[in-house]
Point group: C2
């Protein structure tokens, strides 16, 4: 047991909302090396040096706490993987993918526990995870000003079949990156990014067979 540390008693008094945000950020950090199931209110209370009672005041019950932390983790993932404003479509995809890979490396335990359905007892966690994946995938269909959509740049149309396969590419990416973090074998990060970027037009290539 570590000794209690002063919490929220700094020079500038934080608002309850700021304090809650700070506690959530700490919860997300704790998910970097533990699964969602392993993350408890007791643990966060000890790390933050405040009472369990106060944490329950901020977060309600354990399920609400998990939901709030996972929601913040998902928001972080969406933010850090935002593609850069400039560049060719595939280059912007590669940069976004690199941020994704870095995120998974840094947050492996919590992220992989979410992917493998650790929170399946809590349907809300599943929903937050699915929503975040949809946001990441939909970027490929989003028209962004005059820079054009990635899908168009690759020469494909926005059809139900294309949406299925882009979704599939996203599942592939998630699976491959998690497997690579567990065991990179002899594959370097640059190789990984090249393979995954090249696999998007590759996964869509089957669509051309439909026209022939």
């Amino acid at each position: 047991m570590s000794a209690p540390r002063p919490g929220g008693t700094g020079r500038v008094r934080m608002t309850p909302d700021d304090r809650r945000e700070q506690l959530l950020a700490l919860g997300v950090r704790l998910l970097s090396d533990r699964s969602v199931e392993e993350l408890s209110i007791d643990m966060l209370a000890e790390e933050a040096g405040i009472s369990r009672g106060l944490l329950y005041h901020y977060f309600g019950n354990k399920q609400d706490f998990h939901r709030a932390v996972v929601r913040k983790a998902a928001d972080d993932l969406i933010r850090v993987t935002a593609p850069p404003e400039e560049g060719e479509p595939l280059e912007r995809l590669a940069r976004s993918l690199e941020a994704y890979v870095d995120y998974v490396v840094d947050n492996y335990e919590g992220y992989s526990s979410l992917v493998r359905g650790a929170g399946s007892g809590n349907a809300d966690l599943r929903e937050i995870y699915e929503e975040a994946r949809t946001v990441l995938t939909d970027r490929i269909f989003a028209a962004e000003d005059d820079r054009g959509r990635l899908l168009d740049a690759l020469g494909f149309h926005d059809t139900p079949a294309a949406r299925l396969m882009v979704r599939g590419w996203s599942a592939m990416t998630e699976d491959v990156v998690l497997a690579w973090v567990r065991d990179p074998a002899e594959v370097g990060k640059d190789e990984l990014l090249l393979m995954l970027t090249g696999a998007l037009p590759g996964a869509l290539a089957g669509l051309r067979l439909l026209d022939s």
Copy 2:
């Protein structure tokens, strides 16, 4: 409540092993339209028309029962998706994929509950599922007599990078087929099979970028 049906009292007396197999097969059938969590010993007892006590005798506790049923379901999946002996590699892949799609259509509830980690409270279920997926994926690397490996036929070598991407294609396939069963949109089964088959060389295409 349905009336009890005679159990194991047919003309030919079944051995306990046969009886257990028959009960497992019934358990697997019950998974066609319910999740693993929803499958209970009580339900199987009622369907089979035998006592709960006798079922506990065959299967031990609920976790052991779930493990045995999921193991049998995984064995069924591996069996029905065995590629045909004859044909070109991609044709054999397409036939195996078709059997996989049919399996998912017929067993959607139980299969999807397993994929989304319904049994994550039971690490054994996850392991059985992972093992089955490995068997399906490894077929692509398996040398089969003089017919050659699919990987060779596609012009790729067996490298750690190729294994990562084939694994990724398998994750893509699983995700796309589950999404398609939930909502086929306007995509027909033949189109789905063409797209997924074409996506395997497509997913591997990124490997060629590594050599250039």
